[in-house]
């Protein structure tokens, strides 16, 4: 079929409706390595502006760390740029297996399989290990990649209200007639920054004979006393059956993900998971960079400790300034604004003040829950965060929202 005028027009209409709904996503060009401070060209063609970055997943500040960059260079020199193969044909080097073993040790699991990304890990794992007689019971706020992965499996699906353990228990009771039961949750929920109650989830799993899956993408490297994840935080490292996580956030920030957990589950992924079987192996520089990250994090908790301090400072500062934030301990700190336009206006004004943040609204977050999601990094320092707080106060004051609670903000701006 030719790319006819009517087809072109139809696509242009689709794009227009995305723009009209205010959902059109524009990239901002960054002219520096990922860091706490970055040089940004926005809008396209404008002069570069140096801003404090409060919206990266660079939680430990390792994305451009010299030791990680050097390790990636060595990987490039010693093992090459790429392998032009999937893993099981001729795409597995010694370093791939080393990284899988290092991840198993770090996450406290029996075995690990690498994927090109955590999205791929989540896309592949459910179909590989569950069939039509089984049921997947997931938290209603799990990440989109988990939703997609669950859709690809043939298992029955059900959900429980976000972090509601009574509701989960009801669902486990209801599905006692299924073959296998798998409870699925994010470790840290990416939009709210709250932690899944994995201790209680594991208790229920034991009581009702269910397996537990947790996606630790927003916790690996920094949640828990030694940064192993939410399962370490709640003391249930030996009770989790499947962990998925990413190497694209705190663990170096490049790319790659994994399924880690019970060895039979990992082995089945190696045989059946389609994103593993049909996509390229991870490039050697990324593998070697990630190995260095795990070595650094195993040697010292200094970076996750610094992140914890920065998080406390930031959360306290926002509360004292009179913002409404989502409570919790994670370095994801959502500043609640409830109104979509207000979230866009404030993000724009903060950018003018040298602070790079993004406003989120429906459908990325539920209706009436618009917010600016701030994310801390170990690469931030206190003077930098003090400057960012001053900018938040200035802009918050301009819009008259400091000291207002949810109801008052909605009364003023609507939701």
């Amino acid at each position: 079929m030719a790319y006819s005028e009517s087809v072109r027009n139809a696509y242009q209409e689709d794009l227009k409706s995305i723009r009209d709904a205010g959902l059109y996503k524009e990239e901002r060009y960054i002219h520096s390595p990922q860091s706490a401070c970055i040089k940004v060209e926005f809008p396209s063609g404008s002069e570069l502006k140096e801003v404090i970055n409060l919206c990266a997943n660079n939680y430990l500040g390792l994305s451009s760390h010299p030791e990680v960059v050097a390790a990636a260079h060595r990987g490039l020199d010693d093992r090459g740029f790429g392998l032009s193969s999937v893993r099981f044909i001729c795409g597995t080097q010694d370093v791939h297996r080393e990284l899988e073993n290092a991840l198993s040790t770090f996450l406290g699991t029996e075995d690990t399989i690498l994927f090109p990304s955590c999205l791929d890990a989540n896309a592949g794992v459910f179909e590989a290990v569950l069939g039509p007689d089984d049921v997947i019971i997931s938290d209603r706020l799990v990440h989109a990649s988990i939703v997609d992965g669950i859709r690809l499996s043939k298992a029955m699906t059900d959900t429980y209200k976000h972090a509601n353990m009574d509701h989960l228990e009801q669902k486990l009771q209801m599905h006692q007639d299924r073959g296998k039961r798998l409870i699925v949750t994010d470790g840290v929920f990416s939009m709210d920054g709250d932690l899944a109650p994995l201790d209680r989830i594991c208790e229920l799993a034991e009581q009702y004979d269910a397996m537990v899956f947790t996606d630790e993408s927003h916790s690996s490297g920094f949640i828990g006393k030694t940064g192993r994840g939410v399962h370490e935080h709640f003391g249930v490292m030996d009770k989790i059956d499947i962990v998925t996580t990413t190497l694209g956030k705190a663990l170096g920030g490049a790319a790659g993900g994994c399924v880690s957990g019970r060895k039979e589950i990992v082995e089945l992924c190696r045989q059946r998971a389609r994103p593993y079987l049909f996509s390229n192996t991870m490039a050697p520089p990324l593998v070697c960079g990630a190995l260095k990250v795990l070595e650094m994090l195993t040697a010292s908790t200094e970076r996750r400790d610094k992140l914890e301090e920065n998080t406390k400072f930031w959360r306290n500062g926002l509360l004292e300034a009179g913002f409404v934030i989502k409570k919790g301990d994670s370095p994801i700190v959502p500043v609640m604004l409830f109104n979509a336009k207000l979230s866009q206006d404030i993000a724009r004004d903060l950018y003018a003040e040298g602070i790079y943040v993004v406003g989120f609204f429906f459908p990325v977050v539920p209706k009436g829950q618009a917010r600016i999601r701030t994310q801390l990094s170990a690469a931030h320092d206190i003077p930098m965060l003090e400057g960012a707080l001053e900018a938040f106060k200035k802009v918050g004051d301009k819009y008259g929202i400091l000291g207002l609670d949810k109801k008052a903000i909605i009364a003023k701006y609507g939701n």
Partner: protein
């Protein structure tokens, strides 16, 4: 029966705090509005089968058939008669 289904949907799918403004009646779109996500339809199906003493075939328990309480009633009544 209508009230019973509405009450179940309210308890099962709506959050007390964040969804207090959502108006729910027999014509409110459930699936297309996102109140009931397709992953959770199984709970509603099992509830209906138990409470109404019917068996709803999987190929008829579609998102379209579950989109409003009215369409759900039509499906249930068809199988009650059968």
């Amino acid at each position: 029966m209508k009230e019973m289904i509405l009450e179940y949907i309210r308890n099962e799918y709506l959050d007390d705090e964040d969804d207090e403004d959502i108006e729910l009646n027999e014509t409110t779109p459930l699936i297309s509005s996102g109140i009931v996500d397709s992953f959770s339809m199984v709970s509603l199906k099992r509830f209906l089968e138990k409470k109404c003493n019917v068996s709803l075939p999987d190929d008829e328990a579609t998102p379209e058939a579950f989109n409003t309480v009215n369409s759900i009633l039509t499906l249930v009544q068809k199988h009650q008669k059968g």
